[in-house]
Amino acid sequence: MPFRWVKSPFPKGTYYFSGNEAAAEGAIAAGCRFYAGYPITPSSELMERIAVRLKEVGGVFIQMEDEIASISATIGASWAGAKAMTATSGPGFSLMQESIGYAAFTETPCVIVDVQRAGPCTGQATKVGSGDIMQAKWGSHGDYQVIALSPWSSQEMYDLTLRAFNLSEQYRVPAMVMADEAVGHLRETIRVAPRVEVWDRKKKKGGAPFDIEGEDGVPPMAAFGEGERLSVTGSTHDAYGFRKTDDPEVHARLVGRINQKILNHKRSIIETEDYLLEDAEVALIAYGFTARTSLYAVKRLRKEGQKIGMLRLKTLWPFSDERVAEVGKKVKRIMVPEMNLGQVAGEVKRCVVCDVISLSQTNGEVIGPELLIETLKKI
């Protein structure tokens, strides 16, 4: 089997980690042995910790000259056989977009943690935002898929970074952890289990690295140095990596497959959580730190007799169309609180026919319980 249970490299127990530190530990637990990055607020603590930890576990850490070089080195390391990652924030994430497209098209497993801050541009470096959600999906040109997860606690910075590596290896796709400043800097009790489930990319001697009939649509991936003949290119390529830049069939087949290999497995990739939705008339749909505020608000308003619940999106991309549509059929109204101008609210509207209210806040502060509760009382 491509997955196995391994002993956690960090001793089992209870710790007091910031989200950024927990993400570094999650990566190490997943088997990450290469990190290339350029420090940027508010993600830098991840880089600081993984620099120390990679040395301890025999991995490689490089500080690059910028984020373009960082993602490129990460992709290169992955093709050399390492589980590799980088981390950044909005401005660096923008610089990485071209190579994220390259990673998607060359089917390179890699993990990018984006600890989002208030944008656009350099914006407010130390302040929170979640304005990179659409960029995660659409940041590079052409049609491709990525996987993007949304942690709401220090514990999930650990769990979801580990999961991002597993999904990335399983589907040969860039996987992103779309954290935000508030979660990255939140220091919480986290539990490290004695054993973790780890996926490794599949290998097959002589197997074509860029096409596969049937199965899951994910070809085996050899690494440079393993004796296989490898050609990796960002131009359209056939099953063995040879450039086919004017063959319409090859192009359509390749683009189709790199999208379908993700979309066909949406059910196992997407994770959502329901809170008090059974009899709800109003549903909050939330993710990241804002889901913490939302859960607090839901519990408070329940005590006052309001029939309200929450759907939490742990996976942002691929989008939870089906679950959102089901919720939309059961409730009268949906509210989507988020620290951007309605990026996920737009996706929700696409899936449902009921009223969707977008609660946006882009002032560099988290959405607090008071604002959310007051707004919910008015609707």
């Binding site: 508030a182 800097h185 939140l186 009790t189 519990k299």
Partner: protein, 182 residues
Amino acid sequence: MTEIKQVRLSGFGGQGVVLAGLLLGQAGVFDGKYISGSNSYGAQARGSGCKSEIVFSDGPVDFPHLTIADILIAMSRGAYDNYCTDVRTESGLILYDQGFVTPKDNLKVKHLGIPANEVSVKRLKNKQVSNIVFLGALIEATRIVSAGAIRKAISMHVSERFRSLNLKALQAGMELGREFNG
């Protein structure tokens, strides 16, 4: 019913507010609590008003930031003036530095004046440890975490060079807090 206690430590950047928050949260974890901690960050933490907020809970914490303080530690006058009205009335507690703060008499909140800076400078001969003196007074006056847990947290997060100084400061603070309890 999950019991939640919210603590805000405040002062100006450089007084060790963030470190004290880290130690307090870490001690809570050692004592088996669910902890959510957040700090001032960036330029704030370096010179101007600075705070560290810890939510202690018996179960998972929904909203992890502080909503109202059950306990306020004010290490500077500015911190006291900014946050003294955000403390829960009746059951709340404010610990303030006697040397810097003149408490307001119209607040319905218990006050405990601690000569933390004076003890730090005159007795311990180091102005940097008044944060730990406050922690000592806090745990003795409230038992929010155990003394063993906070000592273990100091051993974990404070470099060896300053460890015994910090443990002495903790002891001095506990003595001050004991007077309040007694």
